[in-house]
């Protein structure tokens, strides 16, 4: 049952990306271009998503001790701001601004088979692999945060 809902969640997520326009790099890049051909649409995507997710998560974790088809809610517990988080976010932001794709839209757009998406996705997967195999250079200044 949980597998069916995982598939369904992915499908709804992908359709949401398409309907919202976020799967289109032209709209993403225009959202980021405040001093040019600005298209503020994507602020509404994030607003709409958070407007559903925030009360949804709150209600779920208050009413239930575990998900419907699994043993526990797996919710991140870390609260420290480590250099890794910030370095990753800066690199991610630069890549997002260059290509107009973040991971969800890139995967959603992959079957449309544009040259850009066909190149972006394998390199994205390669980048993920690299990040998993990059030793944490900031380890000495961190105080035992679980990985």
């Amino acid at each position: 049952m949980k597998q069916i809902f995982a598939l369904l969640s992915g499908l709804v997520f992908g359709l949401g990306l398409i309907v919202s326009g976020m799967a289109d790099p032209a709209k993403v890049l225009n959202f980021l271009d405040v001093f040019g051909t600005w298209d503020p649409s994507l602020a509404f995507v994030m607003g709409g998503a958070i407007a559903v997710t925030a009360p949804g998560f709150a209600l779920l974790t208050r009413r239930r001790s575990r998900p419907f088809f699994d043993s526990q809610f797996r919710i991140p517990t870390r609260t420290d701001l480590d250099p890794r988080l910030l370095t990753g976010a800066v690199l991610f932001g630069i890549g997002w601004g260059l290509g107009g794709f973040c991971p969800g839209p890139a995967l959603t757009a992959l079957p449309i088979a544009t040259t850009g998406a066909l190149i972006f996705v394998p390199f994205m997967l390669g980048g993920m692999w690299l990040a998993r195999h990059t030793p944490d250079l900031s380890l000495p200044i961190r105080k035992g945060a679980p990985q």
């Binding site: 949401g16 509404f44 609260t79 910030l86 991610f92 630069i94 394998p122």
Partner: protein, 144 residues
Amino acid sequence: METEFTPWLSLGGGMMIGASAVLLMATNGRIAGISGLTSRIFARSTDGEARGVSALFVLGLLMAAPIWMLVSGDWPQQWVPSSPALMAVAGLLVGFGATYGNGCTSGHGVCGISRGSMRSIVATLTFMAAAFVTVFVTRHLIGG
């Protein structure tokens, strides 16, 4: 290139994304973070069950555009940068940065902010700022 301002479609699509995140949390107890789910499919440390759930979520994502095509008769409208070198660098940075920084637009930007996580709020402000600056540089300083 101009794109049309679509507040209602974007709001509606955003709410679908939010509903998907709540559905995955309600049924599987997992954060709908695309970079996390994707990299977990290939990571050696992932247990079989998490791998399966992650792979099915990503399969659902991959099915969205073909289903859209079957229903509407057209692929979703999009314009994708086509420079191979640019897209290779962009892909590498996005994949590396998202995994290194524990999340992307969905994991930090939607799910994390919805939980009120300080890490996610800082990460989202950081990658948004980096993206705004990048587009300013490429479109107005270099390409302008």
